[in-house]
């Protein structure tokens, strides 16, 4: 454990937990990882996050924090002397937070729509997803990452997309990201997946894939019930 006790309650299937791990590791913070069995949650998790009962939960010096984006901002503020995740300029910070919200609201929810619909509605969801990604691409401009030369807050928040969208494409049999239509996003995906930190923290893809197939199966069977 680090000089100030840092514990992360997580699960390998959760992309939200990964966000926190990336933030901690980019900052060089030592932490203890506690794996949660989400079908049998520990009393500690339920005590630390009584409202949502979900991972990730970060516990720092015995005090719990829930909600991945809130945790990442906390990590940036509590360990502010190394590797800033958000810009210090208030206007640039506001822009960064806006794009993080955009990713969360349009892209994350959009991807769930794609995974959970069928037929015409699914095609519509794919189209909306592509439009959202096109808009997001505008924020990349000439940069390798949303954070510039290095991974920043928006990259962390959007970091589920490179592997998850690929898996969704495979499950539903529809291509969402075409390189000609989304050249900058495609390049970002390659650079992100190529980053050492991302490679080192990548969960076993077969397990995540199985988990996502199960999500789709559950949604489909609920629809026909």
């Amino acid at each position: 454990m680090g000089e100030e006790g840092v514990k992360l309650y997580g699960n390998i299937l959760s992309p939200f937990v990964l966000r926190v791990e990336w933030a901690l590791q980019l900052k060089g913070i030592k932490y203890e990882y506690v794996n949660e069995d989400l079908s049998n949650k520990s009393p500690q998790l339920l005590q630390y996050n009584p409202v949502h009962k979900m991972v990730p939960v970060l516990v720092h010096n015995g005090r719990p924090i829930a909600e991945s984006a809130v945790i990442v901002e906390y990590i940036d503020e509590a360990w502010s002397d190394f590797y800033p995740l958000l810009p210090s300029n208030p206007y640039q910070k506001a822009t960064t937070r806006f794009w993080a919200k955009f990713v969360e609201e349009k892209c994350l929810h959009g991807s769930f729509d794609v995974l959970s619909r069928v037929g015409e509605e699914q095609l519509q969801a794919v189209k909306e997803m592509q439009e959202s990604l096109k808009t997001l691409e505008g924020h990349l401009e000439e940069n390798k990452f949303f954070g510039g030369e290095t991974i920043g807050f928006v990259d962390i928040i959007a970091g589920w997309m490179p592997s998850w969208l690929g898996m969704i494409e495979e499950i539903i049999g529809i291509k969402i990201i075409n390189e000609e239509d989304l050249p900058l996003i495609s390049a970002w995906i390659k650079d992100f997946l190529d980053h050492n930190l991302v490679k080192e923290t990548m969960p076993p893809q077969e397990k995540v894939m199985a988990h996502m197939r199960a999500i789709r199966e559950n949604v489909l069977s609920a629809m026909s019930a």
Binding site: E67, V70, E73, Y74, E77, Y91, F102
Partner: protein, 222 residues
């Protein structure tokens, strides 16, 4: 009073997201120009400053636009640091942001569901909303406001529930705000609406009910 550059706010009188930004501006004593938008006929300025969402509120500071009400409030708090809205301590800030996320993620959806459903779906939506209010009631135990003795970020973000939830109850004919079931939440709504900066910056109740009645009818007909 404190100005620090030209500040403009594009808004719509009935919108809770707009009001919470106004509350933040008023708490800081920031002078600003308010521009009322007709959302059925959006101005070219609005579309230019917020091409992505094309929505209000939009805050303009020295000609640069900021979008998303929560992002705006944090920006306002950072640029003008007197009368702080968020706590200084990073851990306390996580609590403020947690409840802000809860408002935007859970509470709004829950109220929306009750507004736009009928029959059994509506009954389930009401139960779900009650669970949400229960969570807020628990959090408020022993506290005057989410922010403690004085209103803070969570209060500003959740504050729409103090005024717009009773409006929703009237418009969609349901009751969730039971002061016996949720005594802390009920006190909070009273206390919040009595804070001068809030009390002096609310839309007229009757007009707001009428507005949301029309809005609900249009959505249900669609």
């Amino acid at each position: 009073m404190a100005s620090g550059g030209e500040v403009k706010l594009f808004g719509m009188w009935a919108s809770p997201a707009v009001r919470r930004v106004e509350w933040a501006l008023k708490i800081k004593g920031i002078e600003y120009e308010y521009i009322e938008e007709d959302l059925s006929n959006k101005s070219t300025s609005l579309l230019e400053y917020n091409p992505i969402n094309k929505q209000v509120p939009v805050l303009l500071h020295k000609g640069k636009p900021i979008v998303e009400s929560l992002v705006m409030i944090e920006y306002i708090d950072e640029v003008w640091n007197h009368n702080p809205i968020l706590p200084e301590d990073p851990y306390e800030r996580t609590k403020a942001r947690f409840w802000a996320t809860y408002s935007e993620g859970k509470c709004r959806d829950a109220v929306g569901k009750v507004y736009f459903t009928e029959g059994e779906e509506k009954e389930n939506a009401i139960k779900y909303l009650e669970d949400i209010v229960r969570v807020l009631d628990e959090e408020l135990k022993g506290k005057r406001f989410f922010g403690g003795e004085n209103i803070g970020f969570s209060d500003l973000v959740l504050g729409w529930m103090a005024f717009w939830l009773p409006v929703a109850e009237e418009v969609a004919s349901f009751e969730v705000l039971d002061s016996e079931k949720f005594p802390w939440f009920a006190s909070w709504t009273d206390n919040f609406l009595q804070v001068p900066v809030i009390k002096e910056n609310l839309p007229p109740r009757d007009k707001t009910v009428e507005f949301f009645q029309n809005y609900r009818q249009q959505r249900l007909a669609a």
